[in-house]
Amino acid sequence: MDIYNILGSALTAQRLRLDTVSSNLANIQTTRAPDGSLQPYKRKQVVFAPFLDEAQQMGNMAPSLQRQADGSMLLKGGIQSDRNLIQGVQVLEIAEDNQTPMQKVYDPAHPDADKQGYVTMPNINVVTEMVDMVAASRAYEAGVTALNSAKAMDEGALQI
């Protein structure tokens, strides 16, 4: 368990969430795919999952000194399974939002209008994206505050 790695993963995850929000905001009127085919942009969302990388799992299995009954110290390899519950975060995938219905805008002059004159616009609501952006930046600030607290703890320990 390394607090700097855990909080670093939190900051990276929130940064990626902000990137996804930016992508949604940039493509708010995108009606085509990059290759030019008629496929409107679908709103993207990040999916988070807890994460403990191999190095940290090995660290939780690191040997430790234990005092035996006769007073000597024994170096014992330990598997501290409950330590593995302290996890960082990873972005599992950037999923498309298939629940929110796409917006249909009446604009017969648009090159991508269908026979009735409706254009299928992306299912992106600016207000929802701004709320996500604020939430991501607040979570980022919370991670930075936690990092500063950990740094202050370490500096205090060095004064012993």
Binding site: Y4, G8, L11, T12, R15, M73, L74, L75, K151, L158
Partner: protein, 106 residues
């Protein structure tokens, strides 16, 4: 760094001060692998320099535009600084112990 090598030599000349743990464990349990304090110190020194090298590589990569998040660069710098501070405190304690030993009068 001259004082550090002098302190390390001192530790090697007085093994019993810190080697009693190793004697107990190796005599009663051959499976124990606790070495001398000097080995531990050398390993920590190499860890510290490794952290500083990593931090410097991160800074250079970020300055040249690689895809490294800024917070990762800052965290690397912070870890290198903390390791350096810890090494300075260990050095202070070692020098203090050396001075206390040299003050002994026979």
């Amino acid at each position: 760094m001259q004082i550090d090598s002098a302190a390390l030599n001192l530790i090697n000349r007085f093994p019993d001060v810190t080697g009693s743990i190793a004697i107990n464990t190796t005599a009663q349990n051959p499976g124990a692998v606790l070495g001398q304090f000097s080995d531990f110190l050398t390993e920590q020194l190499s860890n510290t320099s490794q952290l500083q090298q990593t931090s410097e590589q991160n800074i250079q990569a970020f300055a040249s535009g690689a895809d490294i998040p800024l917070h990762q660069v800052m965290i690397g710098m912070e870890q290198a600084g903390t390791a350096m501070d810890l090494m300075m405190q260990v050095r202070n304690k070692l020098v203090g112990a050396y001075q206390e030993l040299s003050r002994m009068q026979f």
